[in-house]
């Protein structure tokens, strides 16, 4: 019997099992990251489903009876199980998922979309710039680069959030900061005087960074405005557009290029993106309401 959206029935095409039918996963761990953000560790409820993904890809997560949300995978691509997602509770589905408990189930479709250029960046310096929840889709890059640290030049992580309390993965940030082979700078938009770190938007961290523009790959993820400002500063630092990567966000209903919702100019973000080189999007970003 052929099932709705069972692409097994389409030999020659990408053989993702039933891209429109969620697979059931179980919450193994639930960790609160910040006031409104939490991390889920998921394992397939049955079977031994091998789940592989590329840094930058996302899943459609389904909360029973409520709905779906596109959420990036924030775990380690070199050890993809359990499946890890960090989610900010902003609306119907993401708030409902915040109420999940260990042992509860959740539907997963994916992984979908394009990847960060982690392979292509080998031999280059890697500049990772994240804002807010944008660190979640970039964490897989950090894991993957550190797993083969020798293959890269300098590694920078610049991370900005609204307040110190909004910072994700604080323990890991500390660990990365302590490494001698990685430069980590964090900043917040505002803080009380107890905060000892930087205050200022994430672009202020770039000011003092000395870059080798022809030998650096930059990967940026955060609110669109932040990505535009950061990219502009990198261009000022003489980086070419094809060395700058950003991750775009639009409404998504299918994840497989068939619903039309995520269209971005000539592309579909769910399959041509979410990760784009800056030269692919610079013209689009300059226009409103695309």
């Amino acid at each position: 019997m052929e099932h709705v959206f069972d692409s097994k029935a389409a030999p020659g095409r990408r053989a993702v099992l039933s891209p429109m039918v969620p697979e059931i996963f179980r919450v193994e761990k639930y960790r609160k990251e910040t006031l409104d953000t939490y991390t889920l560790e998921l394992k397939p409820a049955s079977g031994t489903g091998e789940h592989r993904f590329g840094a930058g890809q996302f899943n459609m997560l389904y909360k029973f009876g409520v709905g779906e949300a596109a959420i990036s995978i924030s775990g380690d691509p070199t050890s993809p199980n359990p499946l890890i997602h960090t989610i900010r509770a902003v609306g119907t589905a993401t708030k409902a998922m915040a109420k999940l408990k260990v042992g509860d189930t959740i539907g997963v479709r994916g992984p979908f979309g394009s990847c960060w250029p982690v392979e292509a960046a080998k031999g280059n310096d890697v500049l990772i710039i994240a804002g807010g929840i944008g660190l979640a889709p970039l964490r897989p890059v950090i894991y993957q680069v550190l797993a083969e640290r020798r293959k890269y030049g300098k590694v920078f992580l610049l991370y900005g959030t609204r307040t110190p309390e909004d910072m994700l993965y604080r323990a890991e940030l500390e660990k990365w900061r302590a490494r001698f082979d990685m430069e980590v700078h964090v900043t917040v938009d505002r803080a009380s005087s107890e905060w000892h770190g930087n205050v200022g938007v994430v672009t202020t961290l770039l000011k003092k960074l000395v870059l080798d523009p022809d030998n650096t790959v930059a990967m940026i993820c955060g609110p669109e405005i932040m990505m535009r400002f950061v990219a502009m500063d990198l261009i000022k630092k003489e980086m070419t557009l094809d060395r700058i990567y950003v991750s775009m966000e639009r409404n998504m209903k299918c994840g497989i290029g068939l619903c039309g919702h995520c269209q971005y100019g000539p592309t579909f973000i769910c399959k041509d993106g979410p990760v784009y080189t800056y030269d692919q999007v610079i013209e689009l970003l300059a226009r409103r309401e695309i």
Binding site: M1, E2, H3, V4, F5, D6, S7, A9, A10, R13, R14, V16, S18, P19, M20, V21, P22, E23, I24, A45, Y62, F64, G65, V66, G67, E68, V90, G91, T105, G107, E249, R250, N251, K253, C254, I256, G257, L258, C259, G260, H261, Q263, G265, P266, T267, F268, K271, E283, L284, R287, R288, E289, I290
Partner: protein, 385 residues
């Protein structure tokens, strides 16, 4: 049928009474006939039992924002142009249950819905509509992911095309190179000829099944005069096209006019009612809807046709991306005539004119394209974004 057309067979003619035989032959082969029939003051596509269900002797008068049925002087079966429906409603159902899920002892069990694949014989498919189907084939069957429901329905479908000898006030297939004559993508193609007292069809088959079905009809070898009569009708139709759209450089034209003043002008008229997208035979956008029953134990996910003209369409937390009507019309028209080429290697418009006829305020894509061209300041082809 899905395979590329086999050699189009020698033309034959059959008398109008044989049309019913054709219907019966198809029904015997297990096809549900669907095609034109009058409903709610329009010629719509619906299930047919016999030729009596066809809009015999009726035609449609169409203009921007205007549609009326009118009596013909003859008893033509296919003497109209196109109505508000298109074949996508059979191949790409407006509402489809994707799966159901229920909670059993706290565990979610997902049950994919079995793909329903009715066998439809599409009766009276116009050339522009064949092209629209070919475009949806690209979308649903030739990408990275395929739509198995569409595939099954498409593979099962038997297509009886009808060449256009009557043109509507809003169509422009000649500009889009999609008609009026059906050249591929059908099982059978008919030209209806009413010549004084004679009322007959010139027929050709475009597939093996088509030839087999044709073999069961009482028919004659086509004569030179009959062939000429059919040809003349089509040529006359082509000359009477209600609209034209100059497609020269339309891709570059739209991409470089993302910010032209005309969008604002259109926005002053557009009601963002979504009609144009619903009637368009190539529009494919959909959304999904999750529901639970009152017990909260059973959930279902359904797929619905959707439209880029709604605010919700582009909603992300914080607000909609395409807030202004201007940006939504621009998205639609630029998608149809430009982005579609990037995405699927074809235009997204086949010139059927439905969006013009069924727009309550008569917004006309050909007129808008003309206005954008007239206001186009740069003649140099700027880099497409």
């Amino acid at each position: 049928m899905l395979e590329p057309v086999v050699e189009i067979e020698q033309q034959v003619t059959f008398k109008q009474e044989q049309l019913q035989t054709l219907f019966t032959v198809l029904q015997k082969r297990g096809y549900q006939l669907v095609g034109p029939t009058i409903r709610d003051g329009a010629i719509t596509y619906d299930e047919l039992n016999s030729t009596a269900d066809l809009p015999v002797g009726w035609t449609d008068e169409q203009e921007a924002g205007y549609y009326r049925l009118a009596r013909r002087k003859d008893a033509a079966y296919f003497g109209y142009v196109v109505g508000p429906h298109s074949w996508k409603k059979f191949l790409y159902p407006p509402v489809l249950s994707l799966w159901k899920a229920n909670l059993q002892k706290g565990e979610v069990i997902v049950a994919p819905q079995a793909a329903q694949a009715p066998k439809y014989a599409l009766i009276g498919v116009r050339s522009c509509e064949l092209h629209a189907i070919a475009i949806q084939d690209k979308i649903f069957l030739q990408g990275e992911y395929t739509d198995p429901v569409y595939k099954a329905r498409r593979e099962n479908a038997f297509i009886v095309a009808v060449n256009c000898v009557t043109t509507g006030g809003t169509c422009f297939c000649v500009s889009m190179k999609t008609g009026p004559k059906a050249t591929s993508g059908f099982d059978l193609a008919l030209t209806e000829v009413i010549d004084g007292k004679r009322h007959y069809f010139v027929a050709e088959s475009g597939s093996k099944q088509g030839a087999e079905v044709l073999a069961e009809l009482t028919k004659q070898q086509v004569t030179a005069e009959e062939q000429q009569a059919a040809k003349d009708l089509m040529e006359k139709a082509a000359k009477k096209m209600g609209r034209q759209l100059d497609t020269t450089g339309i891709y570059e034209l739209l991409y470089r006019n993302v910010e032209c003043a005309r969008w604002e002008d259109i926005a002053g008229r557009c009601l963002t009612c979504t009609n144009c997208t619903m009637v368009c035979p190539t529009c494919f956008c959909m959304t999904v809807l999750d529901t639970t029953d009152l017990t909260g134990q059973n959930a279902e996910r359904k797929r619905h046709w959707d439209s880029c003209f709604t605010l919700d369409f582009s909603y992300i937390h914080g607000g909609s991306i395409r807030n202004s009507p201007k940006s939504r019309y621009r998205q639609w028209m630029t998608h149809k005539l430009a982005a579609w080429q990037d995405q699927f290697g074809t235009s997204g418009c086949v010139g059927c004119g439905r969006c013009i006829t069924w727009c309550p305020v008569g917004i006309d894509i050909t007129e808008e394209a003309r206005a954008i061209r007239a206001g186009d300041k740069s003649d140099k082809a700027t880099k497409a974004i």
